[in-house]
Subunit: 507 residues, 2 copies
Amino acid sequence: MTLRNIRSNNYPEWFQDVITAADMAEGSVSPGCMIIKPWGYGVWMRIRRTLDDMFAETGHENYYFPMFIPLSFFQKEADHVEGFAKEMALVTHSKVRKNEEGKLVPYGALEEPLVVRPTSETIIADAFAKWVVSYRDLPILMNQWANVVRWEMRPRLFLRTREFLWQEGHTAHATAEEAEAEANQMLEVYRSMCEDTMAMPVITGQKPEHEKFPGAVTTLCVEAMMQDGKALQAGTSHYLGQNFSRPANIAFQNRDGEKEFAYTTSWGVSTRLVGGLLMSHADDEGMNTPPKVAPYQIVIVPMIKDESMREPIMAYVAKLEAALRSQTAFGEKIRIKTDKRNKESVDKYWEWARKGAPIICEVGIRDVEGEKIMSKIRCRMNTPEHKKLLPFNDFVATAGALLEEIQAEMFAKAKARMEANIRTDITTLEELKEYFTPKSGWLEDDKKSHPAFVLAKWSEDKDTIPLLKEMGITIRCIPFAYQDGKDGKCILSGKPAVKYAIFARSY
Amino acid sequence: MTLRNIRSNNYPEWFQDVITAADMAEGSVSPGCMIIKPWGYGVWMRIRRTLDDMFAETGHENYYFPMFIPLSFFQKEADHVEGFAKEMALVTHSKVRKNEEGKLVPYGALEEPLVVRPTSETIIADAFAKWVVSYRDLPILMNQWANVVRWEMRPRLFLRTREFLWQEGHTAHATAEEAEAEANQMLEVYRSMCEDTMAMPVITGQKPEHEKFPGAVTTLCVEAMMQDGKALQAGTSHYLGQNFSRPANIAFQNRDGEKEFAYTTSWGVSTRLVGGLLMSHADDEGMNTPPKVAPYQIVIVPMIKDESMREPIMAYVAKLEAALRSQTAFGEKIRIKTDKRNKESVDKYWEWARKGAPIICEVGIRDVEGEKIMSKIRCRMNTPEHKKLLPFNDFVATAGALLEEIQAEMFAKAKARMEANIRTDITTLEELKEYFTPKSGWLEDDKKSHPAFVLAKWSEDKDTIPLLKEMGITIRCIPFAYQDGKDGKCILSGKPAVKYAIFARSY
C-alpha cells in the first residue's frame, strides 16, 4: 500500500502524495490558496491550542486586528527599505456591477487602496502608540490568531500558500532587558512546542545579520531538519529594540518622567508547521501523526465480514470506546474515533494508516470471542512491533501509556536522525562545495546520499555571503548549543572565526 | 460610577460607552473595521469553543477554505438574483510600486479580480461537487471558522463591521429529510448556545418568504430581544433543498444508481453575538458578563492601602487563588485572575466591574485577619445582595455553585424581560401603528415607553409587506412556540390567518 511516489524516488511529489493520501489539504480554485481539510486543520488546531495555553501562561492576551491595512501605512517602510517591493494583495474596489456584456466587474474605487495584511506590525504599532502613555501601561503582551496573505509565485501546500494561518505576537516593554527576555522566552515556547508537542527536534539560534527580519535588532529562530536534509525555519522571535517604536511613536513617560520609546518584540509561527510535521514523521506509507497533535489518537475500525456478526462486534466496540473514554494520555482525555462509515473495513484501516492515526484498533469477531484487542501502532509499521494483541482490560489500562511511549519514540527517532545528519567533519570550502553539489538519488538513513546540516565556524563577514548563494545554501543560524568559544577558522574565508554556524539548503 | 450615557438617555451612545468602559473593542484606522480587545475576544472564544464542541458532538468537522473567491463565481448568482448588487471587497492587484512622486500605488493587475469572501457558499459548493460521487460520500458535515467581509456603509462595533468573525456550516445530504433534520438540529444548537451559554433568551422560528436567505427553501432563525425592545437576529440555519446543488452540480449516484442532486444546508453565527450579549445583560454601570462566557469568572483585587500590609495580603490572595483553582463550575475549572497591576485598587475594582466580571473579590487586611472573603456579585450591583462576606473556606466551597446561580439568575432576568415585552393584546393595524410610532424616551422595565415584540396573526400575504416598511418594522419569524392553530384575522390585512408572527423593529 506504499505511496505512488516514495521519498527516495521523488521527494517533492512524495510530500504532495502524503498530503493527498492523508487528506490533509488540497489545492483550490483560488489561485495559490489551499483548502485545509479536517485532518490537517485538526493538527493545526492542536498546535494552536497548545501554543495558546502557553501564551496565556506567559501572560499574553489575544486581540484581533483588522486584516485591511491602508496602503499609506507601508509608505514609511518603503521610504527606508532599500529595493522595497512587496507582493501584496490589494483591495481597490468595494462594489461589483455588470458591464455591457453582462459580465461582473469591480467598481466603486476606494479612496485609498487597502493591503490584505502580510503581517500586522504597522497597524498594531499604530494602536500601541495610542494606548501607551506611561510606563504603567507597559508591558503590552498581545497575540493574534489570523490569516495573512503573501503573494507567493511558487505556491506549495502548507509550505508556501498565498493565504495561510498563523499567530503573531507583538509586545511593548519599558526596558530593553525586558523586551530581550521576552524574545528569548517566546523562542523557548516555540522550541517546546516543536519538540515536546510536535515531536520535531529543532536547533535554536540567532539569525546572522543578513538573514534578520528587516528592522530587527536580533532575530531568533527554531530550525528543523526535514527528511531530505533541508532546513525548515519553524518559527522566529524578533527583538526589535526601538526600531519600530520610534517611527510609530510608541512613546511613554518613564519612571523619571522622561519621554522614551518602548522596546518591542514580535514572534510568529504558521500553518507551515504542519508541513514541517509531515516532513519530520511521514514515511512511504503516508502520514505519521504524533499523538499530541493527532485529531484522533485511537481509531477503532469494526471488521464486519459477516452481517450476522455486526451486533456483537458493535457492542464490543461500544464497550471499548466507553472504557477508553475514561482513560487519559498527557493529562488529557484520550481522543477516540469509531469509524462507522459504510465502507470496506480494509479501506477504512488504510485511510487511517495513511492519515497516521497513532493507534488503530481492528475489532473482529475473534477479538470479541477472545475478549482481546488487536492494535496497530502506526509509527512501528513495517517492524515486528507493529501489532499488539492484548486482553481487553490490559489494552484499556495501558492505552494512555502507549500513546505517551509513541510520542517519545517518534521524537527520539527524529532527533537521532537530525543528530546523525549534522556534519562536523567538513572544514574547508572545497569539502563544503562538494557536499552540497547536487547528486542523484536520496535515501532515508543513508547519510551520504543527500546533504543535510553542516556545523562549521564562520567569521560573520559579509563578503562570504555570495559564496553561500553559489552553493545554493544559507546560514540557518548561529546555534546556541554546539559552541565551544574557541578560536578557529572560517570555513568560507579561512579567516579567524570563533562562532559555529549551521549551513544548509532550506525550504 | 455610572456611564456617561445611560440606556434611558441615549441608547446607541450607551452601547458604545459600554464597549469602551469594558474595553471590549474599538474603532480602527482601517475604515469600518474594529480592533477586538482581550475581553471582547475572550467572550467570542468562549462562544466559539462551546459551539465547536457542539458541532463536533453532532458529527461536524472543521475545514478551512480560501478567503479569496474568483469574481466569476458570483456570475451565476448575478444572472439569477434580480437587482444583484453586492458590497464586496475586491482584490485587483498583487504588487505595490512607487509612482513618480514616491507614493505607493498598486500595480500587477490580476487576470481575474478576487472577492474577499462575504460568505463561502460558492467556493465550498464547487469543492463539494468534486468530492461527491456516490451516496456513500454523503453526508458531508463541515464547518469553518473564518473572517468575512461585507462592505457596510454604516458600521457599528460588533453589530455591523466590514470585517467580522463567524462560523459557517455547510452540509450535503442524500435525502431532503436528512438535510431538513440537519437544519433543525443546528437551530437547536444555536438556541442552546444563546440560552444555556450566553444566558440570552431567544425565540426560534421560521423566516417568512420575503425574509429568507436568497435561494433557501426555508430559513430558520433565533431572534433575541435587546433592552431597547429591538430584535437581533442571533443566528440562522438554512435548508437549501437542491437550489444550490443544482447550479453547482453537487450530484451523486443514489442507491438506485440514478444521478441525483444533493440536498444542502448552511448555518452561521458571528461576532454580532457579542453585541447581542451586551444588549441583553449590560446596565448603566457597564458590561455584565455571564459566567459561562466570561474570560475570567472570579477576579481577585488585592486592596493594599499600606505597603507594610502587602506581604500578608498577597500571601492570603495566593492562598485564595490556589484554593479556587481546584474548584469547578459548569463541570470545568473556574477561570481566575488576580489583578497584580501597579494601579489604585479602587480603579482596578471599577475596571473589572465595568467589564462585568461575574465575581470580584476585594482582599484587604481585615479580610486576612478575619479569614474572610468579601465578594461582589456584578449582576446584583445596586441591590442589597451585591456584597457577600463569607469565611474563607465557605466562599471557596460555594464559589462554583455561586457562579452557576449567577448564570441562572441572569438568564431568568433576561427571559422575564423578554416575556414581559411580548405584546399579545395588539390586534388591529391601528394599534400596531400606534405602538411602533416613535415616542420620546426609553426606560428599562417601563414596558410602555418603548415598543418591543408584537405577537399577532399574519396571513403571509405578500401585499402586506409594504405596510411593515411604513411602520419601520419587520416580521422576525413565525415562532415555533406561541402557535394555537386556530383561525384568526391577519393584523395587517384583516384577512383570515392561522399563524402567529413576531413583529418588531430590529438591528
